[in-house]
Symmetry: C2
Subunit: 426 residues, 2 copies
């Protein structure tokens, strides 16, 4: 088949690893894209802070230090944002959208925190806003939720959506080494940032699950309404006790809808070893979706990496140019789909605590939980007594978060001191 060539001019906001990856992927795919779609892509301008300091593997004349060279260029129809961080990225994207340019971003922080504003700008400029690369790296999770799952009601999203923490937890459990030492090594290997807090504190995953929950439940879930607990306090003991009980520890991002409420949370979680997500190791990402019509899907793939992320961005560039539907405004809250976000979800808990080694302590501890309506499935003493104290691990039946907290608060610390609390999903 012969196809007339059409040239598409792109503008880059920022040009770091992902930007460079996209630039070179477009070069490498040039012939394929010409044959398949009759399209030729030219990166016309790339905004950088300093042209002098910009990467040298891209022609210098592409660089500019003035955003207006991109916003004001009528030839540029698609703007790709690679700046990272909330601002000025969000403001720049909004400006590009208002001026009628499609925007493709991999920036979950700017997107999750300024989604409403960006969508308004997109509507005003009749432009498309594309963000596949913002969640799950190569996993086409945004497409799946905005297209494949639209014919169903999503009741649950559960995912491993931060590669760094999954890598750390995987190594901690394989090598039985401490969080601190594995983190230090991951940083040496470049698999964790010099400042790892966004990953290890769970805020990166919180931004991503806020996006997925908004799409799943067709209502806006703000990042600050995501309960967020990172992996910095996870110990090798917790992982080891979990294994004895047949659990694997993962940092899960979870969004569930019940009849009245929605819960959205990120925290270390014990999963039964047989659970598909329990086997997703290293820096892999995976997302499990449950639909009311039995549409259970799991998607798995590399969560990061310059090249794989670049393919997600270029996929979105194609969406924009081939005028596929722009990301649909599925997140707008309307009377019909408004919902309340609860902080009192129901889940299992595994609680490790130190208790005085004397008759009657076990019953007093379990009484204390019983008083709050928390029923205990198993209770084990771990190891022998040390200086009069023993280590206990309890696993509860599914119970309300707030009841469990009340029970912990009511414990008499003279006889029993909680060491760790890890939620359990079946």
């Amino acid at each position: 088949m012969t196809m007339t060539q059409r040239t598409v001019y792109l503008g880059f906001l920022g040009c770091g690893n992902i930007g460079g990856g996209v630039y070179h992927l477009l070069e490498r795919m040039q012939d394929d894209l010409a044959v398949r779609f009759g399209l030729r892509f030219v990166v016309k301008k790339a905004l950088v802070k300093s042209i002098a300091a910009a990467r040298k593997d891209i022609p210098a004349e592409v660089y500019t230090e003035s955003a207006e060279d991109i916003f004001g260029d009528p030839e540029i129809s698609v703007v790709c944002e690679f700046m990272g961080g909330a601002e000025p990225a969000a403001t720049f994207m909004a400006e590009a959208l208002r001026r009628g340019k499609h925007v493709v971003t991999a920036n979950k922080v700017a997107f999750a925190n300024h989604w409403d504003r960006l969508q308004e700008a997109a509507d005003a400029g009749h432009a498309g806003l594309y963000y596949e690369a913002s969640v799950g790296g190569v996993i086409p999770i945004i497409r799946t939720m905005t297209e494949a799952m639209e014919a169903d009601r999503v009741s649950e999203v559960m995912g491993i959506i931060n590669g760094t923490t999954n890598y750390i937890l995987t190594r901690m459990s394989r090598e039985v080494s401490s969080y601190a030492s594995v983190l230090a090594d991951a940083q040496k290997l470049g698999l964790a940032e010099p400042n790892p807090s966004a990953d290890v504190e769970g805020t990166d995953a919180a931004c991503k699950i806020a996006i997925l929950a908004s799409l799943a439940f067709h209502g806006r879930v703000r990042v600050d309404s995501v309960y967020t607990e990172g992996i910095t306090k996870v110990t090798v003991e917790d992982i080891a006790f979990g294994r004895e009980m047949g659990y694997t520890l993962k940092l899960l991002a979870i969004a569930k809808r019940t009849a009245e409420t929605v819960e959205v949370r990120v925290h270390p979680t014990f999963l039964p070893d047989g659970h598909p997500l329990a086997r997703v190791d290293g820096s892999l990402n995976a997302v499990f979706l449950r639909g009311e019509s039995g549409k259970d899907i799991m998607l798995q793939g590399r969560g990061a990496g310059e090249e794989p992320t670049a393919t997600a961005v270029v996929g979105n560039i194609l969406d924009a140019v081939l005028s596929s539907r722009p990301a649909r405004p599925t997140f707008r809250v309307t009377a019909e789909n408004a919902f309340a976000i609860t902080d009192n979800w129901v889940t299992g808990f595994s609680i490790r605590l130190r208790a005085v080694d004397q008759p009657g302590v076990l019953s007093r501890v379990s009484e204390c939980f019983a008083r709050e309506g928390v029923s205990i499935a198993t209770m084990m003493q771990k190891g022998a007594a040390e200086d009069g104290w023993v280590q206990l691990v309890l696993v509860t039946h599914p119970t309300h978060e707030q009841s469990l907290r009340a029970a912990l608060a009511a414990l008499d610390n003279a006889i029993c001191v909680p060491q760790s609390v890890i939620r359990v999903e079946e």
Copy 2:
């Protein structure tokens, strides 16, 4: 947000399980779809062989015995095909497309065998052809290949895309029961057809991999060029020997591209137990995609079921109505992407054979393989000699299919008789 309602009239060709599932899913999702998209769906006509014999859970006035009531109705903009089989389904779909109606089908047989014809009709009628439900049930594999993977070069597709055979193999290996007995039980449970040949002979999987390979390599792969071997000859011994060697047996559909050629095959395959596809059990489907840019993705989900399949169909109905891109003509063979399909791929082989129990046999057997350039990785004698014969299992290093066949043909059956040959993928 307030949305103006727009009514979309649908025509069904056939109305069995999936058709009924789609009808009821549209009813159940009516309010959601109205709120999300301002769309109201009405099934105006459903073609059935006999109105008298048609399912009673759908209003009788919807039924017709004349296809023209659908083709000739200008109000009907989307036609859903649920007839199954190649004909008359393909002819009916082509007619609907020529008349400008979008077509949504779950019928891999009609689609895989008449794709060119259907695409021409779609082009002629400027209509969209949607077939997400034809492969992988709830797994959004068609979307992923036509959208998410377009920014990459797919080098490999490997999948478990027939739920019935995966269910049978899973139970054979768990219960150590024979193919015949598990099949019979699966038929009792309604998990295998009364006539199971399309599933167990691999032809269902062959249709599906022909579709996926065409999309992956942007060149038309015909069903009859897929090497197809089913599971009817798989024995419990093979599964047991495989397990000893750390392999799980699956019916895999494989499509790979090398520099010059493309290989497309369906056959029982040993996978290392650690391979993600080795853990996909029961009637689950899963597809693993490898992209040249490190875009490795695995998608997993229920491969069948009335309701899940219905969600894939309704997803495509939304695609058609929201005028997303129609399925792109990615399979047209052009000078730039033409390729040759080879029958001489390279893979490992596990060969079970009976050999005369006498000195020198092992060396004569291995000589015979060596002569054809087949190098043996491991060779094990299984069990003691019976009436002078012993059982041997050999596993080869990766070797050419035709070399292995030559070696087997050259074996002296007076001293050694092949019992089974199973390919091994790493």
